[in-house]
């Protein structure tokens, strides 16, 4: 899955996903990626979050919505992501997944579970032209 957040100069926030899902799935199965609030959620008043991982589990908790709402309540992006991922890990300690969270003004963070580390990519005004920064967060 690629899950992506885009914010333009005017603060218009959008988010989305594209995926071919999980390997060996039962035909007809769909994961979290096309489900609003699960694979992605965006609100220009707050920011956005996008998730990736074991979609059967993640879609039960709407982690992207949870993270955006946590930011609305005052958490920074990393803490919001940790809270959303932590909610899932409490019930599914062996699940694997990650989340990227961005505020409407361009502050970002990530959180993950069940992997050693989770990489994510960022391009913004602070990176020189044609460059993308790859960051990793330890799970």
């Amino acid at each position: 899955t690629i899950s992506m957040i885009v914010i333009n100069e005017e603060g218009h926030v959008v988010a989305g996903t594209s995926t071919n899902g999980a390997r060996n799935k039962i035909p007809g199965r769909v994961g979290d990626s096309p489900i609003p609030g699960a694979g992605a959620y965006a609100d220009s008043e707050v920011g956005a979050a996008v998730a990736t991982g074991d979609g059967d589990v993640m879609m039960r908790f709407l982690p992207s919505l949870l993270a955006v709402e946590a930011m609305r309540a005052g958490l920074d992006p990393e803490a919001a992501g940790q809270q959303a991922i932590g909610r899932i890990a409490k019930y599914y300690p062996t699940f694997s997944g990650g989340i990227v969270v961005v505020t409407k003004d361009g502050r970002y963070g990530a959180a993950c579970h069940g992997m050693e580390e989770f990489p994510y990519s960022v391009a913004d005004r602070t990176v020189s032209d044609g460059d993308v920064r790859v960051l990793t967060v330890k799970c």
Binding site: I2, A15, T17, R23, N24, G31, Y108, D124
Partner: protein, 193 residues
């Protein structure tokens, strides 16, 4: 802390991130167009085998695609799920967003919608996805996502039928099902939603 405009993407999909960013800054696309441009790069490049055609075959060896676009200003959404035989899922989701009052179209009907919008119908199978499927089949269909069925899904391929509720209740073994254990599914960098 970044500065606007900004694009952030899961995993190391830098070509997709850059394309979306340049669509915003150089192309002056609107954010939804930039998002579609970025995701479409991964669909073409088959990023890590987890996006686009020829990856993650299902139990029948078919690849299906899911995509969603959400506009955080209008709260409008366009999405497709289990899209069959069309390569450009993010683009099709854009047509759901722009040309319908719905949120999510699925399966073969989503394919019919895509064809109506001018997309080409073509198989999403590749030699690589056929190979992945054959390897899984030759490995007694392991791992899989069945439980409480016979024959035992931990040892055999289907077709399966459900075991009776009574048997599930009284048989502690019942396909060794621990509902919270996800460790056998091999989710990670090359297999994920």
């Amino acid at each position: 802390n970044g500065g606007l405009p900004l694009v952030a993407t899961t995993w190391r999909f830098t070509n997709a991130t850059l394309r979306a960013y340049q669509s915003l800054t150089v192309g002056e696309f609107d954010p939804i167009e930039a998002l579609v441009e970025g995701c479409s790069v991964c669909e073409r490049e088959q990023c890590d085998g987890t996006v686009g055609f020829g990856g993650s075959p299902d139990e029948n060896g078919e690849t299906t695609l899911d995509a969603m676009l959400m506009d955080g200003k209008t709260m409008d959404i366009g999405a497709v799920a289990a899209l069959r035989d069309v390569k450009h899922a993010a683009e099709v989701a854009k047509y759901v967003l722009r040309n319908t009052k719905h949120t999510l179209l699925v399966g073969s009907q989503a394919t019919e919608f895509a064809v109506m919008m001018g997309f080409k119908k073509e198989s999403l199978q590749t030699d690589a996805s056929r190979g992945m499927w054959s390897a899984w089949k030759n490995n007694h269909c392991q791992p899989n996502f069945w439980k409480n069925v016979i024959p035992s899904p931990s040892m055999s391929c289907g077709p399966y039928e459900p075991v009776s509720a009574n048997t599930i209740h009284h048989n502690a073994d019942s396909s060794l099902d621990n509902p919270t254990d996800r460790s056998s599914f091999e989710f990670g960098q090359y297999n994920h939603d």
